[in-house]
């Protein structure tokens, strides 16, 4: 794939990583405590009065894995974003850029050289064809002579 397409693909990848990051964070964010008069949604029963309450609290405890992801996912996603940005910079550094006038000059030089080489190729071709014709004529003579010599058999 040519480098400009790679740059464009890299740009798209950066935008995908960015909006995936924000989307995931918004979707998986735990509810926030609005004021001290409302119950804390993260910790619904903070003061168990008896052991019974403590026992009943065990079954409805939330499963552990989602809270771990909440800390590691943003790190992984921001890492991906930084990697994508670095890749973009590396691709930009690898761009073989030159000015327009240089390119046009080079094109004209190459066209002139192409003409010269083309003419020479033409001359060589004609010379070779001439030689081929001569060789053919000699070959025909030789074979005619061979046939004439063999006639008395």
């Amino acid at each position: 794939m040519d480098i400009i397409t790679q740059l464009q693909e890299q740009l798209n990848e950066m935008s995908v990583v960015a909006f995936n990051t924000f989307g995931t964070l918004q979707r998986d964010a735990p509810p926030d405590r609005l004021s001290s008069s409302y119950p804390d949604p993260l910790n619904p029963n903070p003061n168990p009065k008896t052991e019974e309450d403590a026992k009943t609290q065990q079954p409805p405890a939330p499963p552990q894995p989602p809270t771990l992801d909440l800390a590691e996912q943003p790190k992984a996603m921001s890492h991906a974003l930084v990697l994508a940005a670095k890749k973009f910079d590396a691709l930009v550094a690898a761009l073989p850029l030159s000015s327009e006038e240089d390119q046009l000059k080079r094109i004209q030089e190459l066209q002139a050289e192409n003409e010269i080489v083309g003419l020479e190729l033409q001359k060589q071709l004609e010379a070779a064809e001439l030689e081929l014709k001569q060789v053919e004529a000699l070959f025909n003579e030789a074979t005619d002579n061979c046939i004439n010599l063999k006639k008395p058999d």
């Binding site: 924000f22 930009v92 094109i107």
Partner: protein
Amino acid sequence: MATSSAYPPPPPFYRLYKDYEQDPSSAPEPPPPIDGEYMIYGLQHTTDEVLPSLEKGGIRQLYPEGPNIDFKKELRTLNRELQLHILELADILVERPSQYAHRVEDIRIIFKNLHHLLNSLRPHQARATLIHMLESQIQRRKQAIEDIKQ
């Protein structure tokens, strides 16, 4: 089997070519290629293929204008700006979530600028491809000359 209307008949121009075999000049010439602007399916098109400038799309241009743009420097600058704006968006969402629209709009403008810069590199790529093709053609011709000489 539902009844359906037949297709419309083909255009009647075939009658004009009845004597084409005997007299090729009696039939009309094909229409010349269109130049300039033309209408198709109700939309205006133009044959002059040129990248529309950012103002035509109504986007603010973030990199300096001029005949010679240092593409690498501008691309790198815009990349930094993009990262900064993404970070700012994250901050704004934490502190003042209702003001996200301005930041998102900024990020959109940066992306449009970046893509426009990359698109304006395409003519340069085309010229480079042409140079490469000419070089390989010269190489092939020289090789053919060598082969003939041997």
